[in-house]
Symmetry: C2
Subunit: 242 residues, 2 copies
DNA sequence: ACCTGAACACCGTTCAAGT
DNA sequence: ACCTGAACACCGTTCAAGT
């Protein structure tokens, strides 16, 4: 789990000589966009994506929902700010020609892990062109890495779109699937699903029946993610100029 | 645009001797799960995904929201039923070894187009294992097509997951992007975005600056979709047993 | 059995009023 | 300027009551 936070020190204990604020809003830092985003991450981590509402974030800050709108234009911008932190936290290495395919793959894994660690953001990230400073910095470095693969510019541009889309979509899917399920619940769900597929009439669904075992064996999402990733990166690398 | 409907005849004129119902709920077919799904598709087509609420669907049927719950367990099931129609409408051809890669690609395109034509369903489809009759039939035929590629069973299983995920994610992204935008608005948005990227400081984002032209030229989502599709299918085909 | 009005427990957002 | 209570216009879902 990646911990994402701004540089604020609000969890440090108060120095004894610090003026205590009158209670009402407890001794918290004053509101700011960063504080709102911090609170949103706290809510997300503590109660999951379904609890991530303006009202719940306001509660986290001991205030009413209207107060947030002085620092954030709305829920969409709040999500964008959260996404920008996650995107900005992704570290893209300096290109090393010897390890190029592995470097690209690791970046995509990091995008995947970043969104998987913060369920609810993957969905909000799809269909948007990132314009935040964190995302732009990461994208620029990622473009730099891709360009080191000696690819035509057009392939670089396509790859820079498709690889993050793959990582984001996979994280969205995986996050929804695992979301709010305990280990035990997930196991139960898998068993039920397995039972359902085994109970299907084989004459009507012959291919499902023939593949039930291997379809059921897919409780390794990582292997499936790697399978698709390997294909995409291999395909991209194959377009290198000679 | 794909038209999806059940076999009901509700748009036929009433025969003159047919008993007119007392007005209150106009002369409509009685409620049924299929009628609810029909109404939901009508709302989606007329007002887009944001309008697709239980309440709006109920209004379409001249009734209150509570009435829907006699035929559908909730919004999630309604979406599942809608998805099952879209999935069931996808036609998977009998395998033709000579045209195998093209056949697979066409199926993925059809999934993409199916979800693109019904925005809002792509998001709801992610992270779910399909269990409806329409989707199962399509999946079975798609598995049959994949198996004709002489692939190891495990590759068939992975491909059957990743290809629809790609199509669904792409449709989700594209649908969000295009969603509710007129042609003119979309063009304006592209211009603004182009302006934004050109205004970025080149020394801080050198790779974005170097690629602005080719990044901006990406107003051809179909080409990008095909680029990724080609890679995935080529990569899958390459795993055929010799 | 099927349908319904009314209510419950939520949303995001706005706005006039406070300090 | 920043914050707030209250309200507005929505949600999905439940439930007792109708027919």
């Amino acid at each position: 789990m990646v911990f994402v936070s701004s540089g604020s020190h609000e969890d440090l204990p108060l120095a004894p000589w610090a003026k205590r604020r009158r209670p009402g809003r407890s001794a918290r830092a004053p509101l700011s966009p960063a504080a709102v985003v911090d609170a949103a991450f706290a809510v997300l981590a503590a109660e999951g994506p379904n609890a991530l509402s303006m009202r719940r974030v306001a509660l986290e800050l001991d205030t009413g929902p209207a107060s947030l709108y002085a620092h954030v234009s709305g829920k969409e911008e709040l999500l964008d700010l959260m996404i920008d932190r996650v995107a900005g936290a992704i570290e893209v290495p300096d290109p090393d020609p010897e390890r190029w395919p592995e470097q690209v793959k690791q970046c995509v894994r990091d995008i995947y892990q970043g969104f998987l660690a913060h369920p609810g953001l993957a969905a909000a990230n799809m269909g948007k062109v990132p314009t935040g400073p964190g995302a732009l910095a990461t994208i620029d470095r990622f473009l730099g890495l891709l360009r080191a693969g000696n690819l035509p510019d057009k392939v670089v541009a396509y790859a820079a779109d498709i690889l993050p889309l793959y990582a984001t979509a996979y994280a969205f899917e995986q996050g929804l699937f695992a979301g709010g399920k305990t280990e035990e619940e997930a196991l139960r769900y898998y068993e039920q699903l397995d039972g359902f597929f085994r109970a299907l009439p084989a004459e009507r669904f012959p291919n499902i029946a023939a593949l039930t075992d291997v379809l059921a064996g897919e409780d390794e999402p990582d292997a499936r993610f790697e399978f698709g990733l390997e294909m995409l990166v291999t395909g991209i690398a194959a377009q290198a100029r000679r």
